[in-house]
Symmetry: C2
């Protein structure tokens, strides 16, 4: 059976650290050990329907247009004027409102699975705008810092029109600590309303530049000088109990930097290797516990693999 005659495909998409502190709405990387799985079937009816949502999150819209996975496949059908439809089952592995890219993960997993069912599968560049459309159902905007790295793998600068992979030393790890509390993306967006001053932009731009150049050069000192969010973190930190203590624990442990993962409440730290990531993550969990929050943690290569077929 070739892909062209295949009628069902499954795909896994990792979670993600959106923003990476200094690249708001632009920079992201995957979280390898957590993600969503989509099972997609070609159906004769010219429509997209969601047959089931299982796993960590089940209270999601079943109407295709209101679900990131469904909306992405609606966009795929329209873009290619497909004569057939899709049925989707989602197995969610990413908790709702965790800041680990759950809505993007379902969207990308569904696209990668559906793509395998096309007579002429699309490349990543062609899938990207469809993923932006799907993700926009949840985020309200066409931002690619979550879907981008899921599609392309690694650390990715995701502009509205293109995905630019950024080289990262393969040993570098991110530890993502997820406190067991929910922060709604819309609430996290609301605190960003209002105006910003040019000096803060200049400082944040310098930080982003140092992180990007440091990653490409494998220069940990340059990343350490830059990985600090002076623009968004000050507004969102008050929404996350214990944030400053958690960040302090990461920096005291030798992290290259730490900030909020996506819209939070998860907090990530970048580390030079897996061993330090484990130590740093443990210290961050203790800090969350002192703030009254249970947590779990994920350690991932920053150069995380992209979403992949499972069949």
């Amino acid at each position: 059976m070739t892909d062209a005659t295949r009628h069902e495909a499954r795909a896994f998409s990792p979670g993600s650290v959106g923003n990476v502190g200094v690249g708001f709405d632009l920079l992201g990387h995957g979280i390898a050990d957590v993600g969503d799985i989509a099972t997609v079937r070609r159906i004769e009816a010219p429509t997209v329907r969601i047959a089931a949502i299982r796993g960590t999150v089940t209270a999601l819209p079943l109407e295709a247009e209101r679900n990131t996975a469904g909306a992405a496949l609606v966009a795929l059908r329209e873009a290619l004027a497909l004569p057939f439809g899709f049925e989707i089952e989602l197995d969610k592995g990413i908790p709702l409102g965790s800041g680990m890219g759950g809505s993007a993960s379902s969207c990308v997993a569904a696209l990668v699975a559906a793509n395998a069912l096309l007579d002429a599968p699309l490349d990543i560049a062609a899938l990207y705008p469809l993923a932006l459309t799907g993700e926009s159902v949840a985020s309200g905007g066409r931002t690619g810092d979550n879907v981008g790295p899921m599609l392309a793998g690694g650390l990715v600068l995701a502009t509205p029109t293109r995905l630019i992979p950024v080289a990262v030393p393969p040993a570098w790890r991110a530890v993502v600590v997820h406190p067991h509390t929910v922060l709604e993306t819309r609430q996290a967006r609301a605190v960003l309303q209002g105006h910003y001053g040019l000096p803060d932009f200049v400082a944040q731009s310098a930080h982003l530049a140092q992180v990007l150049l440091g990653c490409e050069r494998g220069d940990a000192a340059l990343v350490r000088a830059g990985l600090s969010d002076v623009l968004v973190e000050p507004r969102r930190a008050p929404l996350i109990p214990g944030f400053h203590a958690v960040k302090r624990a990461a920096l005291d442990g030798g992290a290259l930097g730490a900030s909020i993962s996506g819209a939070g409440p998860s907090v990530f730290a970048w580390c030079e290797d897996a061993a330090s990531a484990a130590t740093i993550g443990a210290a961050m969990r203790i800090a969350f516990a002192r703030a009254g929050l249970e947590s779990d943690m994920h350690i991932t290569p920053i150069a995380c693999p992209a979403a992949r077929r499972l069949d």
Copy 2:
């Protein structure tokens, strides 16, 4: 005669393209064929004095503290608790209010010359904060996008505390077209007052990131995608007669991008080689002429050499 017993030194500092459109107050490179020369003498009096200012600009403050070159040497004396003083003569090559870094150039030339007269000369990292102090007399802030590339050479990301050279293909050129009209830095700063929206900042950050990664990788397409200022240029362009036509001429001629040099009114365009820079510069001059402005132009490697001793 060793440097330690030398009593007079001369140095040339190139002009500069500050901001480079997408790196407001952060990114800059030199303009090799235009600049200021400082002649500095060690004097017994524990003071800094300016003996003469000649050349393109003469109506500058002779009080050391109000002159960028003088203020830098005052800072040098204080930083090192020097028992001797300096006398400075400036030969200005950069027109006042041209947006080509004239105040920074005098400052850096004086520092490089004075440094040669020290018993233990400082390295660039140690000179940088002194140059920021000198430049602040003219700009009002500690921004290194002009003094940074003059001191270090090449394209430089200049944070308030460090200079980070950015690799650029050696063949790439900037053409800087200087219309014969003066735009005061303070006026150009005034139009930047007020607040900015987060979406504009995200767009500009994406542009800066693409320019930096494109330069490091020698990827002209990536630079072309990024070299567009959506944050500052829209506010300053109305201060420069003919700006949009000049920019259009550069882009139509195949420039990688074009924007305002420093605070203007000079306009720069990045080009892939010297021949295209000459053609593009000529077209930009014609566009300025149609707006009623005479102009001259400078073509420089973006990887412009740093300030240098002349003796």
